[in-house]
C-alpha cells in the first residue's frame, strides 16, 4: 500500500523531496531514525508540495527532527511548540502544520500547551516521541518513566507516578488520539494517514527507543515477539491480538475491560472498537488496559471524532475580509464614534 514506497504521491513527489541535506545527528541506533524515514516516506501521500508543510519542533533529541525535513520548520523553545503551531495554523489554514515533541518537551514543561491545543481542536498534528527519558540532557527520568526509575537525577529511584499519554489526551478532550511504534513502519504510516485525514488536532504517541539512556523500554511490543503484545485497534473490528489473534478484549461483569482467550468467551463476546464514539469513556478504558507497555498494549487509533475545528468558519471569514479593507475603511474607522471639527 501507498505508505510502502513514497513514489506514488499525487504530485509525483517521493521521499527524497521531503529530506533535507542536513547530516542527521542522532545516536547510531536511535529510534528517531526509523520515525524520520517513515514520515518522509509517508508525506508524498498528502499531495502537498514541501513548501506547504511546516514542522514545528520543541527542544530535545526529538526536536532535531525539523532540521532533517525539506519543508519549512521552526525549532522553537522547550515545550512551546504546540503554542507556536497554534498561532501558525490559525494564521495560515492553507498550511499543513505538524508538531514534533518529546515526553519531556510535550508532557513535562509543555504539558499545558498540549492539553489546551487538544481541547481547542486547532488543526495541528502532534507527534510525541515517547522514549520515557530525557535524551538530549543525557538521561534524567521523564513524566512517562515508570515509578522507581533510576536515572541521573533519581539515583535511588523516581517517586513519580507516570502519565499515560493517551489517557491524558483523552482527559483533555482530544478529538484524535493514537499510538504507534517507531520501527513499525506500516502501522505508523497508517496512523499518520488517519491523523492527517482528521480535521482538528491529532495527538499521536510514538513509542521510540532511546538506545543510549533507556534501551529496551518498549521491548515487550517492539522486540522479536513484540507483535504478539500489540493490541491493534481497528475501528469497527472486534479487539483481538496474539500470534494467531487467539486473545481478545471483553468487558467483565465488574464493568472493567479484560484480556481473555477468544476460545473461552467466543468471538461475539469481544469488544468491538468504536473510534468514532462521541463519548471518550471506552477509549479511555482501553488506554488503561495497560499502564505501561510491558505486556499486551493497545496501539492504533483510540479516538477519531468530528468536532468543530477551532474558529474554522471565522478563519475563513477573516481570510476573505483581509485586504478588502484599505485606506478608505481605515479613515472611516478612525472617524467612528463622537467626533468634532475645529476650523
Amino acid at each position: 500500500m501507498s505508505g510502502q514506497n513514497g513514489n506514488d504521491g499525487p504530485l509525483g513527489l517521493t521521499k527524497k523531496d521531503f529530506a533535507s541535506d542536513q547530516e542527521t545527528r542522532w545516536c547510531p541506533g536511535c529510534g528517531d531514525y526509523a520515525i524520520l524515514a517513515t514520515v518522509q516516506q509517508f508525506l508524498p501521500e498528502l499531495g502537498l508540495p514541501p513548501e506547504r508543510l511546516v514542522f514545528v519542533a520543541g527542544i530535545g533529541c526529538s526536536g532535531r527532527f525539523a532540521y532533517y525535513m525539506n519543508t519549512y520548520g521552526m525549532h522553537g523553545i522547550h515545550g512551546r511548540a504546540p503554542a507556536i503551531a497554534t498561532g501558525l495554523a490559525l494564521a495560515r489554514p492553507d498550511l499543513s502544520v505538524w508538531v514534533v515533541t518529546g515526553d519531556g518537551d510535550g508532557l513535562s514543561i509543555g504539558g499545558n500547551h498540549l492539553i489546551h491545543a487538544l481541547r481547542r481542536n486547532v488543526p495541528i498534528k502532534i507527534l510525541l516521541f515517547n522514549n520515557q527519558i530525557y535524551g538530549l540532557t543525557k538521561g534524567q527520568y521523564s513524566p512517562t518513566s515508570e515509578q522507581g526509575k533510576v536515572t541521573k537525577s533519581t539515583p535511588f529511584g523516581s517517586h513519580d507516578h507516570p502519565f499515560n499519554p493517551i489517557a491524558l489526551a483523552l482527559g483533555a478532550e482530544a478529538s484524535f488520539a493514537a499510538r504507534t511504534v517507531d520501527t513499525d513502519r506500516d502501522h505508523q504510516a497508517g496512523v499518520l494517514r488517519a491523523a492527517a485525514a482528521h480535521e482538528g488536532s491529532a495527538f499521536v504517541e510514538i513509542y521510540q527507543n532511546c538506545n543510549v539512556f533507556n534501551d529496551g523500554a518498549f521491548e515487550a511490543i517492539r522486540g522479536k515477539r513484540g507483535r504478539e503484545n500489540q493490541i491493534r485497534l481497528e475501528h469497527d473490528e472486534p479487539i483481538r491480538f496474539g500470534a494467531e489473534g487467539e486473545r481478545g478484549v471483553v468487558r467483565g461483569a465488574d464493568q472493567r475491560l479484560r484480556t481473555v482467550d477468544v476460545g473461552e468467551v467466543g468471538e461475539e463476546a469481544l469488544l468491538v472498537h468504536d473510534a468514532h464514539d462521541s463519548n471518550p469513556a471506552q477509549a479511555f478504558a482501553l488506554a488503561h488496559l495497560a499502564e505501561q507497555p510491558t505486556g499486551p498494549t493497545p496501539i492504533g487509533v483510540f479516538r477519531d471524532i468530528r468536532r468543530p475545528v477551532y474558529a474554522a468558519p471565522l478563519t475563513r471569514k477573516l481570510e476573505t475580509e483581509h485586504g478588502t479593507a484599505g485606506a478608505e475603511e481605515l479613515d472611516a474607522l478612525l472617524r467612528s464614534g463622537d467626533t468634532w471639527t475645529v476650523d
Binding site: 525539506n70 498561532g87 498550511l95 499545558n112
Partner: protein, 625 residues
C-alpha cells in the same frame, strides 16, 4: 465657616470665566461615576475645550457598597488652552457618599468646592467609611466651599410618575443628576448629553426617561437653586483645525495596530492572556470587524507570545500585549524571536509594583527589563508612547521597525496612558507611513549545485530575508540555536558566535539612522534640560510652561525611542549643566543616560502608583534651577 452656601450669597448667578478647571466625580463603584465623568468629558470636548481625563477604579471587583475600598472616581481637567495632564488638585469634588469624601478630600485644592450628596451620608454609610462624626457637620470641611444637596431624593422626586420605574430604580439615576448639576456649573451644552442618553437607552423607555429627568433636574437645580449662585465658563481652546475625537491610550493603540495592518498589508494577529490593564486591548480588538483582525485568548502569556511568533512566521503581524508579571513570562519567547529575527510586537502596558503589586495603579518601571530582561545578549528595539492619542503613532512606529528590521519590538505604555483620554486630531490614512514587508520570493544565493535560499543573508540594514511558508523553493528551518552567518545553519563555531552577536547588536543599533533626531524645546537658552520618556510627556511640557510663564529658563526633550536612542542624544544631554529625568520608577532612564554618556543626570522619581503632575514637577524644577 467660609465657603458654606450662604457665604457666597449675594452675587446672583454670576458667570465667572476660568482658564482651566479640574472636576472629580467620586462615589461608590455602584454610583456610575465613570459614566457621569465620561459624558461630562464628551460634552466638554464638543465645545472645544482641551481636556485630559483620569479614571481611578477600585482594585476589588465590587468591594462592599459604601466602603473606602469601593470608591470609584473620575477626574477631568479641561481648559481654554491646550493642557497636558489630568490635573493635580481638583477644584471641584462631587462626593456621593462619605467614603468618596474621605478618600478624595485631601487632594482637593484649599477652598475648593465640595458637592456632597446629602442623602448618601446616612449613619450606615458614615460607619462604613469609619467616620465617627458626620463630616458635613463637624467642621471637617471648614476650609472648603461645601454644598449639601439631597441628590438621591431630588432624583427620585424628579422621576416620580415615570412608569416602570420604582423609586429604587430611580435612585440609580442620581449620577445623571450630579452630571446635570456640574454641567450647569460649567455651562456645558445639554443637548450632547441628552442625545446620548436617548441613543444609549433607546431600548428601555423607563431607564431613558429616568436618566433624562434626573439630568434635567440636576441642571435646573443649578440654575434655580438659592445656595449655588455662581457658575463658570471655560472658553474653547485654540486648537489646530481638523477633525477630532476623544480617545484613550487603549483605543488609540488598537487603532494603531489596525492601521499598521492596513499600511503593511499584513493581517493582524493578536494573542493575549487577560491581565489588568492590558486586557482592554484584547477586548477592543476582539470587537474589531472588517479588517481581518484575529484575536486569541491564550492559556497563558507564554502561549500568547508563542502564538504571536508562530503567526509572524506565517507572515502575519504578530502581536502580544500584557502587563506586569505577564512580561516576565514572555522573556524566553522574546529571546527566541531575537534569535529567529522575526517581526513581533510586544506591548507592555506597565502597571505599579513588582510582583502582583498594585494592579490598577500606574507606574513605568519596566524600561530596564525591556532592554536587559532576557538571558544572554539579546538586543531589541524599545519604543515608548507619550500621550493617550500618541499611542496610535507609537504602535505604528513599533510595527514599522519590527517589520522592516525583522525583530521583536517592545512597546511601552502604562496604565495612565491606557485609561486616560484626550482629544485626538485624526490623521489621514494617506499620510501614515507605508510599511513594506518585502517578503523573500526567490533564492538569494548561487550554490555549487544550484540556487539556494540563505535565511540569514542580510540586506544593507542587516535585516534578514523573510520567507513565509508556502513560498516555493525557499524551505528553511530556523531555531533558537546559534546559527552560521548567512546560511543560518546551526553553528557552535567560536568566531561565528562572536560575529552573530555583533550583527544582532549592530542591526538594532543601526535603527538610530532611521528614527530621526531628538528635538529640544529650549526657547531661551536654558541651563537645565528636563528629559522625559513615556507618559511623563504632558507633565514635563506643562511644568516647563509654568516655569517659563514665571520667567524661568528650562529646556525639555522627550524620548520616544529608548533603544536605540536618537543619534544626537549624547550631544544634547552633554550640552546642559543639569539634566533632570522625571520617572515613575527609581531612575531607569537616568541609569541609561549616565552609562551611555557619562553625564551626571539627576532624577525626580515618584513611586506612588500615580502619574507625575505638572504642578509637582514645576516645584521640583524651580527648586533645582
Amino acid at each position: 465657616m467660609i465657603g458654606s452656601g450662604t457665604a457666597i450669597a449675594g452675587h446672583l448667578n454670576e458667570v465667572i470665566e476660568k482658564e482651566r478647571v479640574v472636576v472629580r466625580f467620586a462615589g461608590d463603584s455602584g454610583d456610575g461615576m465613570q459614566l457621569a465623568g465620561t459624558r461630562f468629558a464628551a460634552a466638554t470636548a464638543m465645545i472645544g475645550n482641551d481636556l485630559v481625563t483620569l479614571p481611578d477604579f477600585p482594585a476589588e471587583i465590587r468591594a462592599p457598597a459604601g466602603t473606602l475600598a469601593g470608591v470609584s472616581a473620575f477626574q477631568i481637567h479641561f481648559a481654554s488652552r491646550d493642557i497636558l495632564t489630568p490635573g493635580g488638585q481638583p477644584n471641584v469634588l462631587v462626593a456621593m457618599n462619605p467614603a468618596a469624601l474621605k478618600t478624595n478630600l485631601h487632594e482637593l485644592e484649599r477652598g475648593g468646592i465640595v458637592l456632597a450628596n446629602e442623602d448618601g451620608f446616612s449613619a450606615h454609610n458614615l460607619r462604613k467609611a469609619a467616620y465617627d462624626e458626620n463630616p458635613l457637620e463637624d467642621g471637617t470641611l471648614d476650609d472648603y466651599s461645601l454644598f449639601r444637596i439631597p441628590m438621591t431624593s431630588m432624583t427620585v422626586r424628579a422621576t416620580d410618575g415615570i412608569d416602570g420605574i420604582t423609586s429604587r430604580d430611580a435612585a440609580r439615576s442620581k449620577n445623571f443628576f450630579a452630571l446635570g448639576l456640574v454641567s450647569w456649573m460649567y455651562s456645558r451644552p445639554t443637548d450632547v448629553t441628552s442625545e446620548w442618553i436617548e441613543r444609549k437607552f433607546a431600548e428601555s423607555a423607563p431607564v431613558r426617561e429616568a436618566n433624562l429627568a434626573a439630568f434635567r433636574a440636576g441642571y435646573n437645580f443649578g440654575e434655580t437653586a438659592e445656595l449655588l449662585q455662581v457658575h463658570y465658563e471655560v472658553k474653547p481652546a485654540a486648537a489646530e483645525p481638523g477633525t477630532y475625537r476623544g480617545v484613550n491610550g487603549t483605543t488609540a493603540a488598537a487603532l494603531g495596530l489596525v492601521a499598521a495592518s492596513v499600511r503593511s498589508g499584513l493581517p493582524l494577529f493578536l494573542a493575549s492572556y487577560p491581565i489588568t490593564p492590558a486586557s482592554e486591548l484584547l477586548h477592543e480588538l476582539s470587537r474589531q470587524k472588517g479588517f481581518g483582525v484575529r484575536t486569541v485568548q491564550a492559556e497563558d502569556e507564554i502561549a500568547a507570545a508563542n502564538m504571536a511568533l508562530g503567526a509572524a512566521f506565517g507572515g502575519h503581524l504578530g502581536v502580544t500585549a500584557t502587563s506586569g508579571p505577564g512580561m516576565d513570562l514572555k522573556a524566553e519567547t522574546i529571546g527566541l524571536a531575537v534569535m529567529l529575527e522575526l517581526p513581533m510586537l510586544v506591548i507592555d502596558v506597565q502597571r505599579a509594583g513588582p510582583s502582583t503589586g498594585m494592579p490598577t495603579k500606574t507606574e513605568a518601571a519596566d524600561l530596564l527589563m525591556a532592554i536587559h530582561g532576557r538571558h544572554g545578549e539579546s538586543p531589541l528595539p524599545v519604543v515608548a508612547a507619550s500621550t493617550p492619542a500618541q499611542c496610535f503613532d507609537a504602535v505604528l512606529e513599533a510595527a514599522r521597525i519590527a517589520i522592516t528590521y525583522r525583530t521583536p519590538v517592545i512597546l511601552l505604555s502604562d496604565t495612565f496612558l491606557a485609561n486616560s483620554s484626550e482629544p485626538w486630531l485624526l490623521p489621514d490614512t494617506a499620510d501614515l507611513p507605508e510599511i513594506d514587508p518585502g517578503f523573500a520570493t526567490a533564492p538569494n544565493h548561487q550554490g555549487a549545485d544550484g540556487a539556494e535560499f540563505w535565511p540569514y543573508l542580510r540586506d544593507e540594514r542587516l535585516a534578514r530575508p523573510w520567507a513565509v511558508p508556502g513560498t516555493e523553493g525557499l524551505q528553511h528551518v530556523i531555531g533558537g540555536l546559534e546559527k552560521e552567518a548567512d546560511t543560518g545553519h546551526i553553528s557552535y563555531e567560536a568566531a561565528n558566535h562572536a560575529e552573530m552577536t555583533r550583527l544582532r547588536a549592530a542591526k538594532v543599533a543601526g535603527i538610530a539612522d532611521d528614527i530621526g533626531a531628538l528635538e529640544v524645546d529650549d526657547p531661551d537658552g536654558a541651563d537645565m534640560l528636563v528629559l522625559g520618556w513615556g507618559s511623563t510627556f504632558g507633565a514635563v511640557k506643562g511644568a516647563c510652561r509654568r516655569v517659563r510663564l514665571r520667567g524661568g529658563r528650562v529646556a525639555r526633550a522627550h524620548l520616544h525611542h529608548l533603544n536605540p536612542l536618537p543619534r544626537n542624544t549624547g550631544e544634547i544631554v552633554r550640552s546642559y549643566e543639569q539634566v533632570l529625568v522625571p520617572e515613575t520608577n527609581t531612575g531607569q532612564l537616568r541609569r541609561i543616560i549616565r552609562d551611555e554618556f557619562l553625564v551626571d543626570a539627576q532624577g525626580y522619581n515618584k513611586m506612588e502608583g500615580l502619574p507625575i503632575f505638572a504642578e509637582e514637577l514645576d516645584d521640583v524644577i524651580t527648586e533645582r534651577l
